[in-house]
Point group: D2
Chain length 110, copies 4
Amino acid sequence: MRNQRLRVFVAERDWDQFHSPKNLAMALSVEASELVELFQWLSEAQSAAPDEQLRRRAAEELADILWFLVRIADRLDIDLLAAAESKMVQNAEKYPAERVRGQSRKYDEY
Amino acid sequence: MRNQRLRVFVAERDWDQFHSPKNLAMALSVEASELVELFQWLSEAQSAAPDEQLRRRAAEELADILWFLVRIADRLDIDLLAAAESKMVQNAEKYPAERVRGQSRKYDEY
Amino acid sequence: MRNQRLRVFVAERDWDQFHSPKNLAMALSVEASELVELFQWLSEAQSAAPDEQLRRRAAEELADILWFLVRIADRLDIDLLAAAESKMVQNAEKYPAERVRGQSRKYDEY
Amino acid sequence: MRNQRLRVFVAERDWDQFHSPKNLAMALSVEASELVELFQWLSEAQSAAPDEQLRRRAAEELADILWFLVRIADRLDIDLLAAAESKMVQNAEKYPAERVRGQSRKYDEY
């Protein structure tokens, strides 16, 4: 996903020096928490019926997370879409539909 | 990014009942922390020179994060790529290259 | 809170080299996410009526968080209880009871 | 740690309705990320030599974390100090000094 463009953005600002995978992982987790913060005092039902302002703020946080995700994958030379594809196959095996239906436990608790 | 396929995966397991945006945001942040955990005791230099096992584990965590990201965007009816595009434009304005070069402060500290 | 004892534990293992405030903050956030993970697929009501196993696991995560909290405070030479006291006073001013009663917005949204 | 005083603070604001363990765990993890954010672009050495402003901001985040920690423990009827004591004993067994000295792997990797 547009690694190239993000590389240019970072290089123009001379930010590569800050972008170790360690630091990028921290930054991604901080963005994830900013998403959590939007929902923390809402009920689940409220979170599923966001008003326009909440949707817009959530969209910004999702975008931040995606950019850091793409950036880390680039720095670690990981093909993000191939990894996602592979994980989907793994998850289908770990969580067979007939066994886990309607349950939310982790696979090692089944 | 393949919302449709993920929807089928979730529907087959009857997991929609658990997938409020609130819960999905929590799950995404937990996956982000699993990524952080891989790097927490490493130096920045070590994190930038991962061995094959570390790269593989990082790839799995990145995949988990991406799936939850896609899932939340779908539940909130957000176009993830459009949001990323829009955020990139915003960031280019907030962080003009000539002003922030080589610095890591937040934009409101400039 | 028993900084001294924790210092000995860390020194005996020669772990000071890993315990920069940066790394300790990462570790604390990872433990916080392990707490979140216990509750992520539960309803709020379920989280408020934990069975014995859940309470025990939550207690372990709270303990991990507390130890890292004490450890960071020690490394940064911060008096944790004084900081908590001071924050309580600040919060009482930021969130006057008569103004915020029954509402959960952040103080800058009032 | 002063559960009683925190209970009064919350009751005066009628905030108990928001304080399920699930929500409090989210809030605690968000505060932990605000701590991480202070250090994310700093080197480990920089994080260990904070200026006065950074120390003050870190102290505020540590205080926020402690308050949510005390609050969750209270809601789950967990004795936080007893849990911390018990975890210390467990950790001494899981990580025998002579075996883990100078190493940072997780106990299940030894």
